[in-house]
Amino acid sequence: MISDSQLDSVLRAALKEDANRAVGSSNVTGQVRARMVHARHWHRAVAVPSSLAAVLLVGAVVLAATSELSIVLRYHPIGWLPTPGKLTAVGPCSSLQGMALADVQRRVNFRVLTLGGATLVNAYYGPPCPGSSEANAHLLYEENGESFDLGETHAPEGPITVDLKGTADRSPWRIVTVNGNDYAVLIFDDAVTAAAFKQAGTRVDITVGAKGGPNRPLSLDQFEELVLQIN
């Protein structure tokens, strides 16, 4: 008869030896990464129909929202223009002041998000507009000849609103989900040229290719990789 202690000892040694031999050199990092990418694409695929399904007509304003309402696309068919030119969180009344990123962070009441892997060309602080307490930050990055403008403000509780000209049915804007976070993206010819989203209590409005060299197309997949670098 095998004693308990003998059995315990042999079992312990056998299990460890066998498991180390079988999977001791295994590494699933690549598999996990691949599954994460696949999951993000799946999220994106289901996010778009849910946003379309939630389109509501309220007077002259059309609202399109994701199921979790983290972003509302508000369309203005006539009589109102959003911030001209690029989409940005920097108000027209702000006189931007160039300074070190750390100084910008000290002056605003929200966390300034930065773009990893790209070169920060300039950082600006935008004082609050008259009648407002909200300052803003503006960061200009470059990477491989491509430029990224990040306009950042304190994000309100609940969903952020993106004001847009036109109507939802012809809009080049759509909402995609990456890692569970929603992004409003402007897509022309399969290239992302602007985006808006909320992360860690900060609203970020990005414009791609607005400075420096030619406006190179940023695919949706590249955009997904890009936003993962914003922290």
């Binding site: 095998i2 056998a14 001791g24 994460m36």
Partner: protein, 191 residues
């Protein structure tokens, strides 16, 4: 980067947080998954899927809650589930007289006789007993920790460990008395 930092990093959408969690926890997760599924490829699938589940649920994860028991619970549940599905499939294949994958002869030769006898006996245990024994002896977890990971009452853990050991002892005794039994050094020891 510790678990807490890695979870916060991943919550912010940075995949480096996941890389750090995988690097820190995959060896243990793979060993446990392998001892339940008894298949290295299946173990990798189970562990990769478990990390994907972590990724999908990370936003609701309390950073103060220990990460490893949470991961191991996912791994063990998936490994048990996969093993049950496979054993049903193998029964069907057996009925159809189709051979399952033979053991790799090189691998078999590399494993010493004693280990092979134990592992072979372990293969014949019910999967729940195998899961409990794996966590107890492979990962040196106490009964309370096993209960938390598997979501079983502690009495159930004790029962399954006890039954598992008894089944294993019977299997090994059968092997030792068989005509082609290997010479097992630990059989016949005094109690």
């Amino acid at each position: 980067m510790d678990d807490r930092d890695a979870i916060e990093t991943l919550k912010r959408g940075d995949p480096e947080g996941m890389d750090a969690l995988v690097a820190a926890h995959q060896p243990r997760a793979l060993r446990v998954a392998y001892q339940i599924t008894r298949d290295s490829q299946a173990a990798e699938d189970v562990v990769a899927d478990a990390f994907l589940a972590v990724f999908q649920q990370i936003k609701s994860q309390d950073p103060d809650r220990p990460f490893q028991p949470w991961l191991l619970r996912i791994v063990v549940n998936r490994a048990i589930s996969l093993t049950r599905r496979r054993s049903r499939l193998q029964r069907v294949l057996g009925l159809l007289s189709r051979a399952t994958e033979p053991s790799d002869p090189v691998q078999v030769a590399e494993t010493n006789e004693e280990t092979r006898a134990v592992i072979s006996a372990l293969d014949r245990l019910p999967v729940n007993e195998r899961a409990a024994l794996s966590l107890r002896y492979l990962e040196d977890l106490d009964e309370r920790s096993i209960a938390e990971i598997l979501g079983w009452p502690i009495g159930t853990v004790k029962t399954r460990l006890h039954r598992g050991r008894n089944h294993l002892r019977q299997e090994l005794a059968k092997n030792a008395t068989g005509a082609d039994a290997p010479a097992l050094s630990f059989i016949g020891g005094s109690e």
